[in-house]
C-alpha cells in the first residue's frame, strides 16, 4: 500500500509498505552497500528510521548468525528496492520475512537518493512514516508531539540485565559496560581468548570493581540517551585505575567523564568508507562508522587528552588516547578486518592491559 514519509520540515517522500503502520523517529542514513542485517541489529540505532542509500536491498537474504545483537532495534527501514528473491548459500530467510518476524517496518520504493541529498543539504531530521494518515498538519503535529515527549532512557531495554561471563583460554579479565555491545566486537574478544564479563550499563563503579577486571570496555550504543549521564558518573570514578576502551558512544562517555563536551554533527558519519588519519602521519585506516556526535577538540586539548586519529574528510575526532587516564577511545567501530583478524585498537588495548 501507499505510504508517506514526511520530514519535520514538511518535505514529503512516498513509498510502498506491505504492512500498515505509523512510525516516528530520527532519520539516519547509511551508505554501505552490504550489511543491512548488521546495521538493523546494532543497538546504537535504537528507534531510528534507517535509510539505506544503496538501492538494491535484501539480495543475499538474512541469517540470524549475522545479527549484531538479539534483535532489530531500528523502527523502520527506508529503501529503494527490496529484492524479490535472495541468493546466497548462507541465507535462511528473506529480509522481508526477517522484518516480519522482527516487527520491522519497511518502506519500499522510495527515491532514497533524493532523500539523502535533501538531508545532506538540511541536516538530520525527524520524520514520520504513515500508511493511513496523509494530512500534513496531522503528521507534523505528531512529529512535534513525539519530539516534545520527556526523554526516556532506552539503555535498560538494550543492555544486559544481569552480568554474563565468557571464559576465554586467556587469564586477562575484561569487563564490558553494555550500552549496546555488538557481536562483531565480542567475536574478536573471543578470538583474542580473553575472559570477559558483560555488565549492565548502570552498574556502579564499586560493583564493577567487584569483578576485578584488568580493563574495561565501554561499548557503543545510542548516543543521545539520557541514561548516559549515569554511566558517565560511574566511569568517572574508574578512570585512571585501569585501562579503559570506549567504543563510539563509549568513547563519548570517556570524554564526557573528563568534562569534555560532545556536539551533534549536521549529518553524522554512517557507512563503511570513512578514512581516518593519525596526526603527523600519512598512514591511516578506512573505518566503519555509525555516529552522529563528535567530541570537542579544544576540550580534549585542554584536558591533555591526545587525539590519535582524525576523520580525513572533516577533521573531526575519531580516536583519543590518554596515558595519564589509561584510556583509548574510538569514534569509529573497531571491527575485524575479515576472517579472524583482530582490529588493531583491540590489540593495543589488550597490550595496554598487559603492560599495566
Amino acid at each position: 500500500m501507499k505510504a508517506i514519509l514526511m520530514l519535520e520540515d514538511k518535505t514529503t517522500f512516498f513509498g510502498e509498505a506491505k504492512n500498515k503502520g505509523e512510525i516516528i523517529g530520527e532519520i539516519i542514513f547509511n551508505t554501505a552497500v552490504v550489511g543491512y542485517q548488521e546495521i538493523l541489529t546494532d543497538p546504537a540505532n535504537y528507534g531510528k528510521i534507517l535509510v539505506l542509500t544503496y538501492p538494491l536491498i535484501g539480495n543475499y537474504g538474512c541469517n540470524y548468525k549475522f545479527n549484531e545483537s538479539k534483535k532489530v532495534w531500528v523502527k523502520a527501514l527506508v529503501i529503494k528496492e527490496m529484492s524479490r528473491i535472495y541468493s546466497n548459500w548462507q541465507a535462511e530467510l528473506s529480509l522481508d520475512e526477517f522484518a516480519d518476524k522482527e516487527g520491522l517496518f519497511i518502506l519500499n520504493n522510495v527515491d532514497v537518493r533524493s532523500l539523502m541529498v535533501y538531508l545532506r543539504e538540511k541536516g538530520s531530521m525527524y520524520g514520520i512514516i504513515s500508511t493511513d494518515e496523509f494530512r500534513e498538519k496531522v503528521l507534523i503535529n505528531k512529529i512535534e508531539e513525539f519530539k516534545s515527549r520527556p526523554k526516556k532512557s532506552v539503555l535498560k531495554e538494550i543492555s544486559i540485565d544481569k552480568p554474563k561471563i565468557f571464559k576465554g583460554k586467556n587469564q586477562t579479565k575484561i569487563a564490558i559496560l553494555d550500552l549496546g555491545i555488538t557481536n562483531s566486537i565480542l567475536t574478536q574478544l573471543k578470538n583474542l581468548g580473553v575472559t570477559f564479563t558483560i555488565l549492565p550499563f548502570n552498574i556502579s563503579s564499586k560493583d564493577i570493581l567487584k569483578y576485578n577486571p584488568a580493563g574495561i570496555i565501554i561499548s557503543s550504543g545510542p548516543e543521545d540517551d539520557v541514561g548516559l549521564k549515569e554511566v558517565v558518573g560511574n566511569v568517572r570514578d574508574l578512570i585512571g585505575t585501569m585501562p579503559i576502551l570506549g567504543i563510539s558512544t563509549g568513547c563519548q562517555v570517556l570524554a564526557l567523564s573528563k568534562g569534555v563536551k560532545v556536539r551533534k554533527m549536521r549529518l553524522g558519519h554512517r557507512g563503511v568508507n570513512y578514512p581516518i588519519k593519525r596526526p603527523n602521519s600519512l598512514q591511516g585506516e578506512i573505518t566503519v562508522q555509525n555516529h552522529s556526535y563528535v567530541i570537542d577538540r579544544d576540550g580534549l586539548e585542554k584536558n591533555n587528552i591526545n587525539i590519535t586519529a582524525f576523520n580525513l574528510n572533516d577533521d573531526t575526532v575519531e580516536e583519543i588516547e590518554s596515558k595519564e587516564y589509561k584510556f583509548i577511545g574510538t569514534q569509529y567501530l573497531p571491527l575485524s578486518g575479515g576472517f579472524d583478524e583482530i582490529n588493531p585498537v583491540l590489540i593495543r588495548f589488550i597490550q595496554l592491559i598487559e603492560r599495566s
Binding site: 517522500f13 551508505t31 554501505a32 552497500v33 552490504v34 550489511g35 542485517q37 548488521e38 542509500t53 544503496y54 538501492p55 538494491l56 539480495n59 543475499y60 541469517n63 549475522f66 529503494k80 528496492e81 529484492s83 524479490r84 528473491i85 535472495y86 541468493s87 546466497n88 548459500w89 548462507q90 527515491d111 532514497v112 537518493r113 533524493s114 539523502m116 541529498v117 545532506r120 549529518l267 557507512g271 563503511v272 568508507n273 570513512y274 578514512p275 588519519k277 602521519s281 600519512l282 598512514q283 591511516g284 578506512i286 580525513l312 574528510n313 571491527l335 575485524s336 578486518g337 575479515g338 576472517f339 583478524e341
Partner: protein, 1089 residues
C-alpha cells in the same frame, strides 16, 4: 610523503595497437598518467606505436615517440633519452611485458632505470605462475590445484593428476590468449601445444576447473606507506568459464554478504602486500563456490587493466591518475578526489546505483568460427550502463552495444516469437537450453526465451550457473513485458491505453520507447509525446563516488526515472553536445573517440561548454575531465533527445563518433535538433547512392559503374550490365559489413541475400569492381568557403581490400603528379558541392591513370588521427572550431602539408582469437587496430609499421612462397630480391616452376597431402621465417588455409598480397642495410616548419 625528487625523467610505455583484450582503456589510463606526471613537474617521455591515441598527441608528453614496442626500439629510446624511471603499469600487458623483458635483458640495469608503479619483483610475483602460486600459498590463500607445464609431456602428466575438466592458461599472455578448457586428453594435448606457443616464456598453467563458480573481482590500491583501499568489487554475471573480458559484469557485487565482502577485502589486502605493490593498483580475480563460499584466487594483474578502467568509470574514482601519483611516491591522502572536490583519494568509493557492463562481439565478421565464449577473450568492445536497479542497467546496456536491439527483447527483433514460445516443441526447447548452457554472445536473450517458454529460475540456474538473483531480475522484466502487452492496440495505432503508473514502472525498469511502441502497437514518437504529457521524464543522477554524502564538484550523470533532477545545467551558458562512438567494434574504434575528445578540447578553447554523450567505459571521452559535462548513456535517439531536452545546446556534433552518430543525424534533424557543420541535407546526399550519383555526374567525376537493387533479379540484371566482378554491399553500414566481391551469378545470389539482411529497408549497392586498382584515401577539412586537404594516403594493397584493413602511406609513394592533381581537383569539387563544414573523407580507386570516386563520407574518418599525427595538425580540433563558425584562414590552416618524412599506417588483426578463420583480406573489414611507422622514407616507415604490428620480419632464413596464377608473373622480381638478400626460397611445384624459369634457385616442397616433410612441418619446426601466400580465389584451397592457419599459430610473419610482399621485401632490405633509428614526433614537426 612528498613526491620523489630523485627521479626527473620518466619513460611511459603505451599498449600499442587495439587488439582483443587490449583496447582504448590503455589510452584512457595512459593519458591520465601523462597528465598526472606533468602536473607534478616530471619530464615525461612516451612511446606507443598507436597513432589513434590521445596519449600520443604531441602536447601530452614532453617527448613522444611513435615507434614499435619492441625491446630493441625501446632500448634505443632509453639510450637516447636516459630516463631515470620507467612506468610500465599503464600500458596494459604489452607495457608490462616490455618492461619485464627490458629487465631480463639487463637494459634497465645498464642504463640505471628504475621500474616504478610495480617493481620488477612485483611483476614477476604476479605474472610468473610458479612464483604466484607459491606466494599465495604462503599467505594462506587457496589456488586452484594446478601445475606449470613447460612441455607437452609435463602438461599431460599434470593434467591427468588433477583430473578433467582443466583450464589452461599460458603465462604472460594478454586477455587469456591461448587459454582453453580441456575436457579430455586429446583436447589437453591440443591446447597445450597452442598454449606453449602463445606464451612468450613457453609456460602453461594447467589448472583445476572451477567452472560455474562465481567470479568476483576487486580493484585495490596501495601507497608507499601501506595504506590500502578497495575501489570497488565487481561480480561477473557469467560465472567462471567465460573470460572476464567477455562476461557481463555488475558493480558493485550483488550477492555477497557483509561477512563475505569483508573476507574478500581481507584477502585483497594480503595479496597486494605480498605481491609487493608499493605505489599503484592491482586487479584481483577470485572464484567462489556458490554452494559453500569456498574461495580460490584466479589471477592478479599488477597494473591498470580493463577492469580497472571499468571500476574507474563505475565509481568515479580515477584509478589511473591516482596510481600514477602513488608511483612517484605520493600517498593516497595527498591526492585530492577531484570528483567531490572535498575529500582525498584515501577513501573507498560507495555507489547508489547499479553498474552493468556488456560486451560487443563481432562473430558475424568471422563466420567460420564457433559462436561460443570461453576462457580466451573474444569481445572487441564494451559498453557500461548505469541504472537504479539491475533491470534498468541491463536494458540500457543492451541498447548501448548497438547490435540493433533496444533492450532485452520485445523490440520486434526477437529471433523466436512469443507464439512459438507459448508452446515450444522439444527441438526449440533443446535449442534454448543449449544456448543457455553453453556460454555465447546471445545467452541473455535465450534466458528470456527460456523464461517465456516456461523454464524456471532454478532450471536456468542449473543450466547456466548464472546466479538466480540475476535470472529472477530478468524474469521480472518478462513479467512486466507480459503485463504491458495486455494494452496492445488492436486497431487504432494512434492510441495509448496503458496506465501512467505502469508506463512509469516500465521506464524505471529500462524499457525503451521503441520496445514499448512494439509492445503497445504504436509509433515510438507517440510513446514519447504521451510520456512527456504525463510527466514521465527521466532525471539525471550523478556518479559522485560517495552515494550523495557530499556535494560533488565534478560528477558525471546517468538517466533514471526518479523524482528529483540533479543535473546542473547552467541556463545561459553556450554549450554543444558531442555524440560519441559507443562501444568499440571492428570498423569503429578509438580513432573516433580521439576525434570526440578533440572536439571537447576545441570547445574548451572557445569557452563553450562541451557535453559528451557516450557509453564506452574504456575511452578518454568518458573520462571525468575531458568534457564540461558527461552523460553516460546509450547512443539512441530516445536517450539523446532526453539530454537535449534538458541541456538545450547550440547544436550537436555528429561528425566525430563514426557511423553511430551519423546514422542518427537525419532522425535528430527531423526532431528539430540543430546539427553543427555539414548540413543534414548534404550528409544525406553523400550517403544516398542515387543522389550521390547525380552529383558526381554533375561534377563530371568518374565512378565505377553501379546501381542499386532490392531483389536478386534486379541485382542479376545490373551485374550483367556492368560486368563481373562486382562489389556487393548494403547501404548505411560500417566497416564493410557484408561487403563482397562477386565473380559470378551463383555467388551473387548468396551475397545479395546476406547484404539485404544487413541493409534492412535500404537497397543493396552493386558496383563494378576495379581489379588491380590503387586505392587512395583523402581527408579534407572545410569551413564552407575554404577547403584544405589534410592528407592523401596511398594504399599498399590494391582496391578490394577494405580501407580499414589496408596499409597506407602518407605522402603517396607511387602516384604520378597528374593523378595526384586529379585527386585534389575532385576532392575540392566534392567538398564545395557538399559545402563541407568540418571533415570529409573520400576514397578513390586509380586504374590506368583514371581516378574513380568510390565513396564520400561527410564525417571524420578512421584516418583522421593518423593524418593529424603525420602532418602535426590536429584536424579534428580545427574541424570543431570551423563548425562553430571560425574560418580556416583565422585558424592558420590553408595549405595542404606534404611532409618530407613518410608515415605508414598498418592494420592489426584478431585472427589468433578465432581459430579456423582464414586470414585473407577482403572488402569486409576485419582489423581491430592500427599502428604507425614513421621514418625518413617509405621503406623504413613501412618496416617499422610491420614490426609495430607484431610481424617479426627476418633478416635471414627461409621464405615460403605460394601465389595464385594471376600473381605468378609478379612474384619473380620479389623472389629474386629475397635471394639477393641471402634468403632461401621454398615453394610448391606451381610457383617453383615460374621462379625457376626466371633463374631463381628454389627448394621444391611437396604438396601437403602428398608427402612429408611438407611446409607445415617446416613451419612447426621454426624453419620458415616468412610466408608469402596470395589466395587462389573466393573459395580457397584446403592447403592454403592450412598454411595460413599455421602462420597464425606459430606467429610467422606473412603477407597475403603481392603489393604487401613488395613493400615487405623493400623493408627487409632497409633492415639489412641500416639500423632503424628512433625520432620523436616533436622533432619531425620542427622539420615541417
Amino acid at each position: 610523503m612528498p613526491k620523489r625528487k630523485d627521479i626527473k625523467k620518466i619513460l611511459m610505455i603505451g599498449s600499442g595497437p587495439i587488439v582483443i583484450g587490449q583496447a582504448c582503456e590503455f589510452d584512457y589510463s595512459g593519458s591520465q598518467a601523462c597528465k598526472s606526471l606533468r602536473e607534478e613537474g616530471y619530464f615525461t617521455i612516451l612511446v606507443n606505436s598507436n597513432p589513434a591515441t590521445i596519449m600520443t598527441d604531441p602536447h601530452m608528453a614532453d617527448i613522444t615517440y611513435i615507434e614499435p614496442l619492441t625491446v630493441e626500439m625501446v632500448t634505443k629510446i632509453i639510450e637516447k633519452e636516459r630516463p631515470d624511471a620507467i612506468l610500465p603499469t599503464l600500458g596494459g600487458q604489452t607495457g608490462l611485458n616490455l618492461a619485464f623483458f627490458l629487465m631480463k635483458e639487463g637494459i634497465l640495469k645498464k642504463y640505471g632505470v628504475e621500474s616504478i608503479g610495480a617493481s620488477v619483483e612485483a611483476i614477476s610475483c604476479a605474472e610468473d605462475r610458479e612464483l604466484f602460486k607459491k606466494a599465495m600459498q604462503e599467505i594462506g590463500i587457496k589456488v586452484p590445484k594446478s601445475g606449470i607445464a613447460t612441455s607437452l609431456e609435463e602438461g599431460i602428466r599434470i593434467g591427468l593428476n588433477i583430473g578433467f575438466p582443466l583450464i589452461l592458461r599460458p603465462a604472460y599472455c594478454l586477455g587469456g590468449r591461448g587459454g582453453a578448457i580441456a575436457y579430455n586428453k586429446e583436447e589437453l594435448a591440443e591446447f597445450l601445444v597452442k598454449g606453449l606457443e602463445a606464451s612468450p616464456v613457453k609456460q602453461v598453467l594447467v589448472e583445476q576447473s572451477v567452472l560455474g563458480w562465481k567470479e568476483i573481482e576487486f580493484e585495490v590500491m596501495r601507497d608507499c606507506v601501506d595504506n590500502v583501499i578497495i575501489v570497488t568489487s565487481m561480480e561477473n554475471v557469467d560465472p567462471m568459464g567465460v573470460h572476464t573480458g567477455d562476461s557481463m559484469v555488475v558493480a558493485p557485487s550483488q550477492t555477497l554478504t557483509w561477512e563475505e565482502y569483508t573476507n574478500f577485502v581481507n584477502l585483497c589486502k594480503k595479496i597486494i602486500r605480498r605481491v609487493g605493490i608499493t605505489g599503484g593498483g592491482v586487479n584481483i580475480q577470485f572464484a567462489q563456490d556458490p554452494r559453500n563460499g569456498e574461495i580460490v584466487i584466479i589471477e592478479v594483474n599488477p597494473r591498470l587493466s580493463r577492469s580497472s578502467a571499468l571500476a574507474s568509470k563505475a565509481t568515479g574514482f580515477p584509478i589511473a591518475r591516482v596510481a600514477t601519483k602513488l608511483a612517484i611516491g605520493l600517498t593516497l591522502q595527498e591526492v585530492a578526489n577531484q570528483i567531490t572536490g572535498k575529500t582525498t583519494s584515501f577513501f573507498e568509493p560507495t555507489v547508489d546505483y547499479c553498474v552493468f557492463k556488456i560486451c560487443r562481439f563481432t562473430f558475424e565478421k568471422f563466420p567460420k568460427t564457433e559462436r561460443v565464449l570461453n576462457t580466451s577473450m573474444k569481445a572487441v568492445g564494451e559498453a557500461m550502463s548505469i541504472g537504479r536497479n539491475f533491470r534498468e542497467a541491463l536494458q540500457k546496456g543492451i541498447r548501448s552495444i548497438e547490435i540493433g536491439r533496444f533492450g532485452l527483447g520485445c523490440d520486434g527483433k526477437d529471433k523466436i516469437s512469443d507464439e512459438m514460445l507459448k508452446k515450444p516443441d522439444s527441438i526449440l526447447l533443446n535449442l534454448i537450453k543449449d544456448k543457455i548452457r553453453i556460454p555465447n554472445d546471445e545467452r541473455i536473450f535465450y534466458i528470456r526465451y527460456g523464461l517465456k517458454a516456461g523454464l524456471s529460475v532454478e532450471e536456468i540456474y542449473e543450466l547456466s550457473k548464472i546466479d538466480p538473483w540475476f535470472i529472477d531480475n530478468i524474469k521480472q522484466l518478462v513479467e512486466l513485458e507480459e503485463e504491458i502487452k495486455k494494452f496492445k492496440n488492436s486497431r487504432n495505432y494512434n492510441e495509448i491505453n496503458i496506465s501512467v503508473d505502469l508506463l512509469r514502472k516500465a521506464k524505471q525498469d529500462g524499457f525503451s520507447d521503441r520496445q514499448l511502441a512494439y509492445l503497445l502497437g504504436c509509433k515510438e514518437e507517440l510513446i514519447r509525446s504521451f510520456r512527456k504529457k504525463n510527466k514521465i521524464k527521466p532525471v539525471f543522477k550523478p556518479v559522485d563516488t560517495c552515494a550523495g554524502e557530499f556535494f560533488a564538484e565534478r560528477p558525471y550523470f546517468y538517466s533514471t526515472y526518479e523524482s528529483q533532477e540533479e543535473a546542473r545545467v547552467p541556463l545561459n551558458s553556450k554549450k554543444v553536445i558531442i555524440l560519441g562512438g559507443g562501444p568499440n567494434r571492428i570498423g569503429q574504434g578509438i580513432e573516433f573517440d580521439y576525434c570526440c575528445c578533440h572536439a571537447a578540447y576545441a570547445l574548451k578553447e572557445e569557452s563553450i561548454e562541451s557535453i559528451m554523450i557516450n557509453c564506452n567505459p574504456e575511452t578518454v571521452s568518458t573520462d571525468y575531465d575531458t568534457s564540461t559535462r558527461l552523460y553516460f548513456e546509450p547512443l539512441t535517439l530516445e536517450d539523446i533527445l532526453n539530454i537535449i531536452d534538458i541541456e538545450k545546446p547550440l547544436g550537436v556534433i555528429v561528425q566525430f563518433g563514426g557511423q553511430t552518430p551519423l546514422n542518427l543525424a537525419i532522425p535528430l534533424y527531423k526532431s528539430g535538433v540543430k546539427l553543427l557543420g555539414t548540413t543534414a541535407e548534404n550528409i544525406d546526399i553523400a550517403e544516398d547512392r542515387e543522389r550521390f550519383k547525380k552529383i558526381l555526374h554533375k561534377l563530371e567525376l568518374l565512378q565505377p559503374p553501379n546501381d542499386t537493387a532490392f531483389t536478386f533479379s534486379q541485382a542479376k540484371k545490373i551485374a550483367k550490365k556492368i560486368g563481373y566482378p562486382v562489389l556487393v554491399r548494403p547501404s548505411y553500414v560500417l566497416g564493410g559489413r557484408a561487403m563482397e566481391i562477386v565473380y559470378d551469378e551463383q555467388t551473387l545470389e548468396i551475397f545479395i541475400k546476406e547484404a539485404a539482411e544487413v541493409s534492412g529497408e535500404h537497397p543493396v549497392l552493386i558496383d563494378k569492381f576495379l581489379e588491380d586498382a590503387t586505392e587512395v584515401d583523402v581527408d579534407l577539412i572545410g569551413d564552407g568557403s575554404t577547403f584544405v586537404i589534410g592528407g592523401i594516403m596511398e594504399h599498399i594493397e590494391y582496391a578490394g581490400i577494405h580501407s580499414g584493413d589496408s596499409a597506407m602511406a602518407l605522402p603517396t609513394y607511387s602516384l604520378s603528379s597528374k593523378v595526384l592533381e586529379d585527386i585534389r581537383r575532385a576532392t575540392y569539387k566534392l567538398a564545395e558541392e557538399l559545402n563541407i563544414v568540418g571533415l570529409m573523407n573520400v576514397q578513390y580507386a586509380v586504374k590506368d591513370n583514371e581516378v574513380y570516386v568510390l565513396e564520400v563520407n561527410p564525417r571524420a574518418s578512421r584516418t583522421i588521427p593518423f593524418v593529424s599525427k603525420a602532418i602535426g595538425v590536429p584536424l579534428a580540433k580545427l574541424a570543431t572550431k570551423v563548425m562553430l563558425g571560425k574560418k580556416l584562414k583565422d585558424l592558420g590552416f590553408i595549405k595542404e602539408i606534404i611532409p618530407k618524412h613518410t608515415a605508414v599506417k598498418e592494420s592489426v588483426f584478431p585472427f589468433n582469437r578465432f581459430p579456423g578463420v582464414d586470414i585473407i583480406l577482403g572488402p569486409e573489414m576485419k582489423s581491430t587496430g592500427e599502428v604507425m611507422g614513421i621514418d625518413k622514407d617509405f621503406s623504413s616507415a613501412y618496416i617499422k609499421s610491420q614490426i609495430a604490428g607484431g610481424q617479426n620480419l627476418p633478416k635471414k632464413g627461409n621464405v615460403f612462397i605460394s601465389v595464385r596464377d594471376e600473381d605468378k608473373n609478379k612474384i619473380a622480381p620479389i623472389a629474386k630480391k629475397l635471394r639477393d638478400l641471402g634468403f632461401n626460397i621454398f615453394a610448391t611445384s606451381g610457383t617453383a616452376n615460374v621462379l625457376e624459369k626466371s633463374g631463381i634457385q628454389v627448394k621444391i616442397l611437396p604438396k601437403i597431402a602428398e608427402s612429408r616433410p611438407n611446409v607445415l612441418d617446416l613451419m612447426k619446426d621454426g624453419k620458415i621465417q616468412l610466408v608469402i601466400n596470395t589466395p587462389s580465389g573466393r573459395i580457397p584451397r584446403q592447403d592454403e588455409v592450412k598454411i595460413r592457419s599455421h602462420v597464425i599459430l606459430y606467429n610467422i610473419p606473412y603477407t597475403t598480397t603481392i603489393a604487401g610482399a613488395n613493400a615487405t621485401v623493400k623493408g627487409i632490405e632497409v633492415l639489412l642495410k641500416d639500423d632503424l633509428r628512433v625520432k620523436p614526433l616533436q622533432e619531425y614537426y620542427k622539420d615541417l616548419k
